[in-house]
C-alpha cells in the first residue's frame, strides 16, 4: 500500500492535476486500503477540517491581508526604500537584507508561511527590479523563512520539547547558533550570486538621503514595532499581532496616506480569501494524508526494518536526520514530530545522545524538509501568493538545500554549534 500511495501521488502531481488531488488521492487509497471500502471517508473529511482549524493558522490569512494592503499602498515601498538607502550600494545587499528580514520576521511571528507573504511579498518585486533572477529570489525567500523554525519562539521546538520531555528553554537557546550560521551561509551565497551574475548596485545614498528615507518610513516603521514589540512585549500573540498589522495597515493606507478606498479594500480582502483557500485546502488535504500515514503506522513499519538499535550515536543521528527530512517532504512538520519523536526516543536515550542536540537537529531537518519539494506549505504559499509556476518556485532551491544539509552534517560532528550558547546560558 505504501508504494501505491506514494506512486499515485507523484504521478498525479507530475501529470498536472490540481495539487489537492494527489494529496486527496493519497489519503483515499489509504482509507480504502485500511478499511476495505469507502465506509470511513467521513473521518477523512474530519481530518481535512482538523487541518485547517488550528487557531495559530489564523496568522497566515491575517499576514497575507496586511502585506497585501501594505504593498498596494505606500507602507511597503517606504520601508524598502529605507532598507535600500542603507544597503543598496552593497553587492548583494538587498538579497542579504531580504534573508535577514525573513529570518527575523519568521522568528518573531513563528509562522513560515506568514513570512513568505509578509516579507517576501513586498521585497520580491524590488529584488526583481534590482536584477536578481526570480527563481533565486523565490528560493531565497522560502528557505530564509524556514530558518524561523530554529529561532525562538518555535512551535516545532515546543512540540518536540513536550513530546520528548526536553527543556523548551534550552531548545530555544540551542536553535540560535545553527539559525545564525544558516543566515550567514545564505548571506555569503547571496553575495557570491550577486557578484557572479553582476547584479548592479545603486549609488551610495548620502546621509541626507538616508535621513529623508527614515523620515518617510516613520509611520510604516510601526509594523516592525507592532510585530516585535507587541509579541515580545506580551501584548499580542503572533496571530493577534497579524491582525493588529491589518488594522494598522488600514489606518495608514486609508487615513494617513489615503491610498486605499473601500472598493480596493474589498478587492484586497477577496484576494486574501482566495489565496487562503487555495493554500488551506492543501493544508487540510495534507492533514488527511498525514492521518493515513499515522494510522497505518507506516513510519513504524519502515523504521522497524532498518534496525536502528544496532547503530552508534552517529548512525542514530543520521537516521533521524534522514527520517525527518524525508517525512517533511510529504507531511506537515508538526505531525512528523509527533509521530517520529516517540519512535526514536528509546534509542536516543540508549546511545546517550543529548536530547537538546537531537531536538535542534530535528528542527533543522524539519525546516529543510518543509522547503523541499514535492509537498510543502511554504512552497504552496509562494505559488499562490506570487502566482509563479511550481517549477519556478522550486528551481532555485538546490543550492539552499545543499547549504542547509551542510549545516546539518556540521551539527552532527560539531554539536557545540548548538550547545555552546545553551551551556553558557545554563551553566553546564
Amino acid at each position: 500500500m505504501v508504494w501505491a500511495i506514494f506512486g499515485t501521488m507523484i504521478v498525479l502531481l507530475l501529470l498536472g492535476f490540481p495539487m489537492m488531488i494527489p494529496l486527496i488521492a493519497g489519503s483515499l487509497i489509504g482509507f480504502v486500503g485500511i478499511f476495505g471500502g469507502f465506509s470511513q471517508l467521513d473521518t477523512m473529511v474530519q481530518q481535512i477540517m482538523a487541518g485547517i482549524r488550528p487557531a495559530s493558522l489564523i496568522a497566515v490569512p491575517m499576514f497575507i491581508f496586511a502585506a497585501d494592503i501594505m504593498t498596494r499602498g505606500q507602507s511597503a515601498g517606504r520601508l524598502i526604500d529605507l532598507v535600500m538607502a542603507f544597503v543598496g550600494h552593497l553587492k548583494g545587499g538587498l538579497a542579504v537584507a531580504t534573508a535577514g528580514a525573513c529570518t527575523m520576521f519568521g522568528a518573531v511571528s513563528g509562522s513560515t508561511q506568514a513570512t513568505v507573504v509578509a516579507v517576501g511579498g513586498p521585497l520580491r518585486p524590488r529584488m526583481q527590479k534590482a536584477g536578481y533572477n526570480d527563481s533565486f529570489i523565490l528560493a531565497l525567500i522560502v528557505n530564509s523563512s524556514d530558518i524561523a523554525f530554529l529561532i525562538p519562539p518555535s512551535i516545532g521546538m515546543i512540540i518536540y520539547g513536550v513530546v520528548s520531555g526536553t527543556s523548551i528553554a534550552e531548545l530555544f537557546i540551542a536553535g540560535i547558533g545553527p539559525g545564525l550560521l544558516i543566515l550567514l551561509l545564505f548571506s555569503i551565497y547571496s553575495y557570491i550570486y550577486a557578484v557572479r551574475n553582476n547584479v548592479p548596485t545603486e549609488p551610495k545614498s548620502t546621509w541626507a538621503e538616508r535621513g529623508q528615507a527614515i523620515k518617510r518610513a516613520l509611520w510604516p516603521l510601526g509594523f516592525p514595532a507592532i510585530v516585535i514589540g507587541g509579541i515580545y512585549g506580551g501584548i499580542f500573540s503572533p496571530t493577534e499581532a497579524a491582525a493588529a498589522c491589518v488594522l494598522y495597515a488600514l489606518i495608514l493606507e486609508m487615513i494617513v496616506f489615503r491610498e486605499m478606498d473601500l472598493r480596493t479594500l474589498y478587492a484586497t480582502a477577496k484576494s486574501t480569501g482566495l489565496i487562503t483557500a487555495v493554500v488551506f485546502i492543501l493544508v487540510g488535504a495534507g492533514a488527511a494524508f498525514s492521518y493515513v500515514i499515522s494510522f497505518a503506522q507506516i513510519p513504524q513499519q519502515i523504521l522497524g526494518a532498518i534496525g536502528i538499535d544496532e547503530m552508534g550515536q552517529y548512525g542514530v543521528l543520521f537516521t533521524i536526520s534522514i527520517a525527518f527530512f524525508v517525512g517533511c517532504m510529504f507531511v506537515d512538520p508538526i505531525v512528523v514530530i509527533l509521530i517520529f519523536v516517540p519512535i526514536f526516543a528509546p534509542v536516543v536515550q540508549a546511545v546517550g545522545l543529548d536530547p537538546v542536540l537531537v531536538g535542534t537537529i530535528i528542527t533543522l531537518q524539519v525546516a529543510i524538509g518543509s522547503a523541499t519539494p514535492p509537498f510543502g506549505c511554504d512552497i504552496f504559499t509562494a505559488i499562490a501568493v506570487f502566482k509563479r509556476p511550481y517549477v519556478e518556485v522550486v528551481r532555485g532551491t538546490p543550492p539552499f538545500i545543499f547549504m542547509l544539509l551542510s549545516v546539518a552534517v556540521l551539527l552532527i560532528f560539531f554539536p557545540q554549534i548548538a550547545l555552546f550558547l545553551r551551556d553558557l546560558a545554563f551553566g553546564y
Binding site: 482538523a50 519562539p153 528553554a169 512585549g233 499580542f236 500573540s237 492521518y291 499515522s294
Partner: protein, 358 residues
Amino acid sequence: ETWRYAFEEALEEVQGKFAQKFKEEVEANSDHEIQLFPFGTLGESADTMEQAQSGILQFVDQSPGFTGALIPEAQVFFVPYLLPADQDQLVEFFRTSKTIKELFPPLYADQGLELLTMFPEGEVMMTTTEAVETPEDLNEVKFRVMTNPLLVSSYQAFGATPTPLPWGEVYGALQTGIIQGQENPAFFIESTKMYEVTDHITRAGHNNFTTAVMANKEFYDGLPDEDKEVIQNAIDAAFDYIVEYQTGLTEESLAKIMEAKPDMTITELTEEQREPFKATAEAVEQEFLEVGGDQAQEILDQMKADLAAVSEGGGEAAEGEAATEDGSTAEGEAAADEAAMETADEAEEAAEGEETGN
C-alpha cells in the same frame, strides 16, 4: 484482532501509562493486539472521540471536560472543591461512585460509547508568574483555561481574567507575558515545562484532573463474553496500576521541578487560606446546573452522595470492604437523599435571590 486505542497525552504521561498497562494486560490474556496512539497522532481530543464514535478506534481516553461539548453532564468534574483533596477518599470515590457506575454509562451510551472507567490524574495546581495566596492575588491575572464555560466561570469567580488559548501557544504566551497563569496537574506542569516560564505553583486543592476511558459501544456489545471479561479485567488492573503509579507521582514531579528550577516556589494553601476560594464554588455549581444538561441536578446530587459516602464510611470500608459493603450502600443512599434535599433548597434560594436581585 488489532484494536486501536487513542489518548490525549504522551506515552509517558498518566493516560499513556494507563494505556500501556491496559495493552499489556489485554495482550497477555488474549490473542488481541492493541495499537496505541498518543496525543496528536490522530488529531485532537475531539477528533479521536468522534473516531471512537464512528468505530475507527475501539478505545479512546477523553477527559470529561472535553466531553462536555457532547455530554454536558460530564462537566460536573469542573465544579471546584467537589472532589475530595484526600487521595484515599478520591480513589475510593472512583471505585465506588454510583454516578460513574450507573448514571454516566447511559449518557455515554447515547453517544455510542461504552464507559469503561474514570480515573483521577492528579491534583490541579496553578502555575503563575506572581505568588497566589488569596483570590485578590488573582485580580487582573490573565489565566489560561481550556475553552469550557465552567472553567471560565471558576476563574472569573476566583477573580482572575480567564483567557482561553490553544495549548500550543501557552508556553510562548507565559514567556512573553500575554498570560500570567495556567492550571494543570503536577506531572503535566513538569512534562510540558510550564515551570520554565512561571515562578509559583499554588496548591489550592480546588480540583483533581479526571479522565475517562471508553470503547465504541457497537464494537463492545458485539464482543464475546470472554473478550469483555478480558477488557474489564485489564481496565481494573490498569486502574489499580495507575493508583499505585500515582502514589508519590505529584511529589516526584514537584521534586523534579525544584531540581530543574530551585527558585520555584510551591505553596500549599492552608484550610483557612482555601476558604475564600471555596466560597466561590457555589456560584459555579449553579452555573453547572444551568449548562450541565437535563440530568445535571441528578448527577450533582448523586455525586455529592457518593462523596459523602466515601468521606463518612471511608476508614471502615477500607478495613473490611466485603463485610460493610451492604451497609455503606444504604448509608450512601440515605446521604444522597439528604444531599438532594439540601441542594434543592439551595437552588430555590438562589433562584429567588436572582429574581429579587434583578
